[in-house]
C-alpha cells in the first residue's frame, strides 16, 4: 500500500488485514471483484482504499498533485439513501486527512434540483448514490461525457440488493456502464452469504471474471439466550417474552449502549412501551427506531447512538445496515432471527471493530424459539449461511430500463440485446421476449400499433429514442417507485411529522381512537388527504399499527438446523442450556404424539369443538406453507367437495374442516406429489387476489400506472386506475401479455417460493409419513392454533357460496341489528 495511505491507516489504530491488502492489489491490477466479510471488519475500506491507492501510486509526487479536483473516478452505490450521509463521511476521512484533491458528493432522490444540476455541471471525483439515481443518470443524453472518466463502480451492501428488483436494476445499469467504459472495474461489498460465488457473478456479469476476497473469519460471536426460571409456566406461543423483562432490564443496566432488535415494527413499539413503563427515568436515554418513523427523528437517534448518548435503541431491520455504531456494546434480539445471516448481521452490530467480540442476547417469545436460537448457533459454527436468490428476467424492469436508454441518447436493438444478456438476470432472455419488450415500449404491445404518434418510444432509423419530453418527464418520475406502499403521513395537528403508517391501519380507526406510534400514545383527530392528524394522549392505547412485510419466514438453512436440533434433543443429546429447557416440552409432544425424525413427515389429526383438525409439519417456513396449505386443500377438495380453514406457521400447516377428513399415508403422498405442481398452484391461485396484488408492482415499474403527477390534470387523476382493473382488462383482451405471466411467476417464486416447495414435495415422496391421533393439542400444533391466519377455500359453486355468505350476513345483522358488509 502507498505509504501515505498506510500512514493514515495506522494512525487510526488499525492494522491492515490480508484480505484488505488482497482487495487493494486486485484493484490495482485492474480486476473486478467482491469483498465479503462480517459486519465491522473493515470491508468498506478494503474497496475504497483500492481506489485511493491506485491514484496515489499514479501520482506519487505530492508537489505535482493537480490544483483542480480530479474528474469522476468512482461511483459508490449504496442501497439506502439514509446510509449515503454516513458513507460519504467515512469515505471522506482519508481523503481529507491526506489532502487528496478528490471531491466527494452524494446524490439521492431527496436533494434539490439546483444541487442536481450542479452535480451534472461539475461532477465530483466520487459520487455516492442509490441504484435509482444511477438509473436516472443514464437518462441524461450526455451521461457518457459526464462519467466517461470513471475507473470503478463500487456497490456497497450488495447482499441487500441481490435478490430483489433493485438489484436487477443495478445489474442493468452496470452492464450499460461496462459497455460504454472499457476496463471499468466493478466491485461489490457484501455481508456473508451462502453461494457467494454466484453473488460475485451476478455483480460482475456471468461472462466476466472477478476476484472473490474473503474477509477474516470467524469474528467471535457470543450467542446468549434468556430463559424463564420455571419452564412449566412458559407460554407455548405468541405472547411476547415480556415475562423476561426483568432479566432484560438487568442487561440494559449493565451495558453502556444496547441495540434492541425486534422482528416487526409493531413489536418494537410494544417493547419500547414496556421498557419505558418499567423504567420511566430512562425516558431520555432510550429511543425507538423503525422504518416508518420520520427520517429526521431516525437521524437524531443514529447520531445519539454514535455519540454514546443513548442507553438503548429499540429497532427493527431499520438498523441492520451500514453505519458504524462503534459504542454499541451489546445486541438484544427478541424473537427468532429466522435466518443465520440475519443473526450474524445483527450480532455484528456490537463490537463493531475489528478484533472485538460480538455479543447477542436472544429473547425467546415462545418455547420453540429456544430451539431456533440453539440451531442458529450450531449453523453459525458450521458456517451454514443462506444464499440470496437472484431474480430471473423481470420484464417490467427491462421495459423501464429500455425507456431509460431511449432517453440517454437512444439505443440500437442488437448491441443492446447483447448488453442486456450480459447480465446474470437476463442471460436467458429469448429473442421473442426481447421483441415483445421492444414492441411494448414502441407500440404498447399489440394494442398501440395504431397509435404510433402516442408511443413513449419511437424508432428513428435503427435507434430507439424517447418520443417526447412529456414521456421523458413521466419516466424520470416513475424510476424509483419499485417499492412504495400506500402510506399515510402521521402529523400533529399543531404541525410536525412523526412518520408513516399503512392506510389500512388508519382506515380502521375512528377519530378519538388511541394508538401507539413512535413510542408515543397518540389520539386520532382526523384523517384527510392521506394525512392522519393526531395529538398526544395518555392512558391505554387501543391499537398498535402493523406494517406489511414484517414477517420473515424461517430460512431453509435454519429450518434444517431446527429439525436436526429437535431430533437430537429427542434422542437425549442435551448439550446446551436451550436443549435442556425445551426437552420437557418435547417429552409432552412425544407422549401425546411423536417427535418426528428429520426423515419423517408427522401428521396429527384431532377433533375439537371447532371441527376436525389436520396438522402437517413439513418445517418449510411460512411462505412455503402459505402455498402448500391451499394447494393441499385444493387437491383434497378436488376429489371430494369440502371447505377448509387453513392456517400455518414456520413449522407446519393446519387444515380445519367441519366434517371428518380421512387421510391415509397413500392418499396423503398423492396429494403432496410434486407432479403438476405448477398447474395445480395456478389453479389454486385463480381463487385468490395474489396475482393481482403482485401485478400492482409490475404495472408501476413498467409505467402502466402513474402515481402523483403534480400540476397536470390529464396525467393526474384522470389517468389513475387500479391495477386490479388493468389486470382484468389484460386478462380478458390480451391474455398473452408477458407482464401478466410475470405477475403469476413472481407470486409463485417470491410469495410461495415454488422452488423450495418443489424440493420439499420431492423429499416428502421418500419420507416416512406418520399419522397420529393425539388426545389434545400438542406442543407442535398449539402455536399454529394461537398464531392463526385463516384462509377460506371452497370448491362449492358460486351460488352456494353467496348463499352461505348471505346467511353469515343475516346472522351478523341479527346480532347487531344492522346490516354490515
Amino acid at each position: 500500500m502507498n505509504r501515505l495511505l498506510e500512514l493514515w491507516f495506522t494512525q487510526q489504530g488499525w492494522s491492515l488485514f490480508d484480505f484488505q491488502q488482497d482487495a487493494i492489489n486486485a484493484y490495482g491490477n485492474g480486476e473486478s471483484g467482491l469483498v465479503h466479510a462480517p459486519t465491522g471488519m473493515g470491508k468498506t475500506y478494503a474497496a475504497w482504499l483500492g481506489a485511493l491507492n491506485k491514484w496515489l501510486e499514479e501520482n506519487p509526487d505530492r508537489e505535482r498533485w493537480p490544483k483542480e479536483p480530479v474528474p469522476p473516478r468512482v461511483l459508490w452505490i449504496t442501497p439506502l439513501r439514509a446510509l449515503a450521509n454516513d458513507t460519504l463521511l467515512s469515505l471522506q476521512q482519508p481523503v481529507e486527512a491526506l489532502g487528496i484533491p478528490w471531491t466527494l458528493e452524494k446524490r439521492t432522490g431527496d436533494i434539490s434540483s439546483t444541487k442536481k444540476k450542479a452535480l451534472l455541471d461539475r461532477p465530483p471525483t466520487t459520487l455516492v448514490t442509490t441504484p435509482e439515481s444511477l438509473s436516472l443518470m443514464l437518462t441524461h443524453e450526455d451521461w457518457e461525457e459526464t462519467w466517461g472518466t470513471l475507473e470503478a463502480i463500487i456497490v456497497d451492501e450488495w447482499h441487500e440488493l441481490l435478490g430483489n428488483k433493485r438489484g436487477v436494476m443495478t445489474e442493468l445499469c452496470l452492464a450499460r456502464f461496462r459497455a460504454a467504459i472499457p476496463n471499468l472495474r466493478v466491485w461489490g461489498v457484501s455481508a456473508t452469504l451462502g453461494r457467494i460465488e454466484e453473488a460475485l457473478q451476478v455483480l460482475v456479469g456471468p461472462k466476466n471474471s472477478g476476484r472473490l476476497v474473503r474477509g477474516e473469519y470467524p469474528k467471535k460471536i457470543d450467542v446468549v439466550t434468556l430463559r424463564p426460571d420455571t419452564m412449566e409456566h412458559f407460554p407455548w406461543a405468541g405472547h411476547l417474552g415480556v415475562r423476561l423483562l426483568p432479566q432484560i432490564l438487568t442487561y440494559l443496566e449493565q451495558a453502556t449502549t444496547t441495540l434492541f432488535f425486534t422482528n416487526t415494527r409493531a413489536m418494537a413499539e410494544i417493547w419500547f412501551q414496556a421498557i419505558l413503563n418499567a423504567k420511566p427515568e430512562w425516558e431520555h436515554e432510550i429511543a425507538l427506531h423503525h422504518g416508518s418513523l420520520d427520517r429526521d427523528l431516525r437521524t437524531m437517534y443514529e447520531e445519539g447512538l454514535k455519540q454514546g448518548l443513548l442507553r438503548c435503541v429499540v429497532c427493527t431491520s431499520s438498523l441492520d445496515l451500514g453505519v458504524d455504531f462503534s459504542p454499541v456494546e451489546q445486541v438484544i434480539q427478541v424473537g427468532s432471527p429466522k435466518g443465520v445471516a440475519r443473526l450474524l448481521q445483527r450480532a455484528g452490530r456490537s463490537g463493531h471493530q475489528p478484533g472485538k467480540v460480538s455479543r447477542i442476547i436472544c429473547v425467546p417469545t415462545h418455547a420453540f424459539e429456544l430451539i431456533e436460537f440453539a440451531a442458529v448457533r450450531d449453523a453459525v459454527a458450521q458456517f451454514r449461511i443462506e444464499a440470496r436468490e437472484p431474480i430471473p428476467k423481470p420484464l417490467d424492469l427491462l421495459v423501464q430500463h429500455l425507456i431509460t436508454l431511449s432517453m440517454g441518447g437512444g439505443f440500437e436493438s442488437e448491441p443492446t440485446l447483447q448488453e442486456v444478456r450480459s447480465t446474470w438476470s437476463f442471460a436467458s432472455l429469448t429473442d421473442l421476449e426481447w421483441q415483445w419488450v421492444l414492441d411494448f415500449i414502441t407500440y404498447g404491445g399489440k394494442s398501440l400499433r395504431a397509435y404510433a404518434q402516442y408511443a413513449r418510444v419511437r424508432k428513428e432509423g435503427r435507434r430507439y429514442v424517447i418520443s417526447n419530453p412529456k414521456a421523458a418527464q413521466f419516466h424520470r418520475m416513475n424510476i424509483g417507485t419499485i417499492s412504495s406502499y400506500q402510506s399515510v403521513v402521521v402529523k400533529y395537528t399543531s404541525g410536525g411529522e412523526l412518520g408513516t403508517v399503512e392506510e389500512g391501519f388508519i382506515g380502521r380507526l375512528k377519530p378519538g381512537d388511541k394508538f401507539v406510534f413512535g413510542g408515543k400514545v397518540l389520539q386520532l383527530v382526523r384523517f384527510q388527504a392521506m394525512t392522519a392528524y393526531v395529538k398526544r394522549s395518555t392512558g391505554k392505547p387501543g391499537a398498535v399499527p402493523r406494517w406489511a412485510g414484517g414477517r420473515m419466514p424461517l430460512s431453509s438453512e435454519l429450518s434444517r438446523a431446527v429439525r436436526e436440533k429437535i431430533h437430537s434433543i429427542s434422542q437425549g443429546k442435551l448439550n446446551d442450556e436451550e436443549s435442556l429447557a425445551v426437552a420437557p416440552i418435547l417429552q409432552i409432544q412425544q407422549n401425546w404424539s411423536v417427535v418426528p425424525a428429520p426423515n419423517v413427515l408427522l401428521v396429527e389429526q384431532l377433533k375439537s369443538r371447532d371441527g376436525y383438525h389436520t396438522f402437517l409439519y413439513p418445517f418449510a417456513g411460512r411462505l412455503v406453507h402459505e402455498g402448500l396449505g391451499p394447494l393441499l386443500a385444493w387437491r383434497i377438495a378436488r376429489e371430494e367437495a369440502r371447505t377448509f380453514s387453513i392456517a400455518q406457521n414456520d413449522y407446519g400447516i393446519e387444515l380445519l374442516s367441519p366434517t371428518p377428513l380421512e387421510l391415509d399415508v397413500e392418499s396423503l403422498r398423492r396429494h403432496l406429489s410434486p407432479h403438476q405442481l405448477l398447474e395445480d398452484l395456478l389453479l389454486t391461485l385463480a381463487n385468490t387476489e395474489l396475482p393481482k396484488y403482485q401485478f400492482r408492482e409490475i404495472a408501476r415499474i413498467a409505467g402502466l400506472v402513474f402515481e402523483g403527477y403534480p400540476g397536470n390534470r390529464k396525467t393526474g387523476k384522470q389517468l389513475q386506475i387500479s391495477s386490479n382493473l388493468l389486470y382484468d382488462v389484460f386478462s380478458q383482451f390480451e391474455p398473452d401479455n408477458l407482464l401478466l405471466e410475470q405477475a403469476r411467476r413472481e407470486v409463485l417464486d417470491r410469495q410461495m417460493e415454488i422452488l423450495r416447495m418443489q424440493s420439499i414435495l420431492e423429499s416428502i415422496q421418500t419420507m416416512e409419513i406418520t399419522i397420529t391421533q393425539p388426545p389434545k393439542f400438542t406442543p407442535f400444533c398449539f402455536p399454529i392454533l394461537v398464531d392463526r391466519l385463516r384462509h377460506q377455500l371452497s370448491t362449492e359453486s358460486w351460488d352456494d357460496r353467496i348463499e352461505r355468505l348471505v346467511e353469515q350476513l343475516e346472522t351478523h345483522a341479527g346480532r347487531s341489528g344492522k346490516h354490515a358488509c
Binding site: 411494448f440 407500440y443 404498447g444 404491445g445 399489440k446 394494442s447 398501440l448 395504431a450 397509435y451 402516442y454 408511443a455 413513449r456 418520443s467 414521456a471 381463487n687 385468490t688 387476489e689 409505467g703 402502466l704 390529464k714 396525467t715 384522470q718 389517468l719 386506475i721 387500479s722 382493473l725 388493468l726 382488462v729 389484460f730 380478458q732 383482451f733 390480451e734 401479455n737 385463516r790 384462509h791 377460506q792 377455500l793 358460486w798 351460488d799 353467496i802 355468505l805 348471505v806 350476513l809 345483522a813 341489528g817 344492522k818 346490516h819 354490515a820 358488509c821
Partner: protein, 223 residues
Amino acid sequence: MPVENLSSDGVEFLWAGESWLALPQRALYRFQHRTVYITDPHFGKDESFRVSGVGLPTGTLSADLQRLSTILETTAADRLVILGDFFHDREGASDRTLADLDFWLRQHHGLDVILVRGNHDARAGDPPPELGIRCVDDPLLIHGLCCAHHPVEQPLVPTLAGHVHPAVRLGNAPFQQKFPCFHFRGKSGLLPAFGSFTGTATITLEPGDQVLILHKNTVRKIF
C-alpha cells in the same frame, strides 16, 4: 322475445310500486315504459390511456357495445337513458371511438337515446350531434321517474342515479370479494357503472335496502 323468459337472465323485483328487471349486463329495464337505463359507461377511457402512450389492449369499447346490443335485443326496448359520464374525457373521445359509436348507433336505428349530463360530460363535452343522442341537464323527470347523474338524498319522487359506481363487499378476508351492485333505499336507486373499464366504490348497507349484486354473467338479489 317474451318478457317472462327474460327472468332467467335478469332478476325481476319491485321498487317504487312498479316492477323492474335488473340485467346481468349492468342495466335496468322498466317494463311499463320499455326503457333501458344504464349509467357511467365512460366510453373511451382505455383509449385515453393509449393516447397517453400506455399500452392498454383495445376491445373494451366493442365488448361494451356488444353487451349493450344484447340488452336492447333481449328487452326490445324503445328507449335508452344514460345517467351521465358518457365519455371519460376529451382525449378518449377520439375519431376511433366516435367511429365505433357511430357504427353501433346505426345498427340501432330508431332507438331513442337520452344522456343526462354528468360531471365527466361537463369536461369531455357532449357526444357530437351526428350521433343523434339527446343531451339534457341533470336531472331529467320522465314518466314520474327522476333520472339523475348525482344521487339525491331522500328524493320526493323515485330517482335513479349513477356517479357512485356502487359495490358491496362480501365474505371474510383474505377471500373477501367486491361485487358491483344495484342499490335501492327508499325512493333512491343507484345503478352499477356500465363501463367495464371502471372502478367501484364500496357502499355501506342499512336495513331495508334492496341490493342486487353482479358477478361474472349473473345478477343476484341478496337483500
